[in-house]
Symmetry: C2
Subunit: 169 residues, 2 copies
């Protein structure tokens, strides 16, 4: 049987990242058609002390690579967060999809009993079993940022719907 | 070993529903302190054709009962969606938590190979294996509505943070 942690991570991350890519394509097309400065969407926030669209996408990509890497017992690669355009965000999602898709189910076989240490060596260090890390920490945060990216675009009038958020399942 | 479908559903739904309850308590307190009509928050939307806060909470509760019931092979109870106040939403979450918590892990043991039929008998009928139903359909939608409820409140100035969304994990 495929590891439940693989089943609950890689294919789910792939579904939502692909959907997020399509949502961003619609947002970019919307900006072009309405002659909106792309930055008006990329820098949009739901509230002044919330993060803008560009950061929501970066953090979603970040959680996807962190989840897949940690569950596979691999090093989490460091990415620079230098994206500044829709094209950059698409390239980031492509990179995240390639990274997430690089792991094989059997790399997750022994991960259930693995302990994952978040923010190691800091005052906020937290240890979680791999299953708790995925289900109670990683996925809730990943979905938070994917949904918030969608919400920012909806709030700004981009014509997308729940089906776009969901992608293919 | 506990069924992976139980592990990935009931405790996750419980975490997020409890957190949502606390978020709504803060929202109600905020309205009272700032002398805001509670309906200004309960009926708030991120865009005119999106659903208001009260519906986001109802749908989150709905997915929680649907997910737990279907995975356990139980009838999905029908709830009337008559909530109109913060107190009503708290009662709804309490009811959802009681329902979700009423299932035992061993009720999920055989659910992996179970087929789940969504919208049976309608043109939009869709069949999914239980695992795909949970991971690719139920949880993405549940998190969508919990996050959107949070986003509506943040957008309206309620002082909550990611920690409130996450709850205890």
């Amino acid at each position: 049987m495929t590891s439940p942690l693989y089943t609950a991570s890689v294919p789910v991350l792939q579904q939502m990242l692909k959907a997020l890519s399509d949502v961003l394509t619609k947002a970019e097309d919307h900006a072009a058609q309405k002659k909106i400065d792309p930055d008006a969407l990329l820098q949009a926030r739901l509230f002044p002390d919330m993060l803008p669209l560009i950061r929501q996408v970066q953090i979603a990509a970040d959680f996807s690579k962190g989840i897949a890497s940690r569950l596979a017992g691999a090093e989490v690669p460091s990415w620079p967060d230098t994206e500044a355009s829709f094209a950059d965000l698409q390239a980031l999602i492509t990179k995240a999809l390639a990274h997430v898709g690089s792991f094989k189910p059997d790399q997750f076989d022994s991960s259930e009993s693995r302990e994952i240490v978040l923010r190691p060596g800091t005052p906020k260090e937290k240890k979680l079993m791999a299953s708790a890390y995925l289900l109670h920490y990683g996925l809730p945060q990943f979905f938070f940022h994917v949904t918030t990216a969608y919400g920012i675009l909806r709030h700004n009038g981009v014509e997308i719907g729940k089906r776009d958020y969901m992608g293919a399942y």
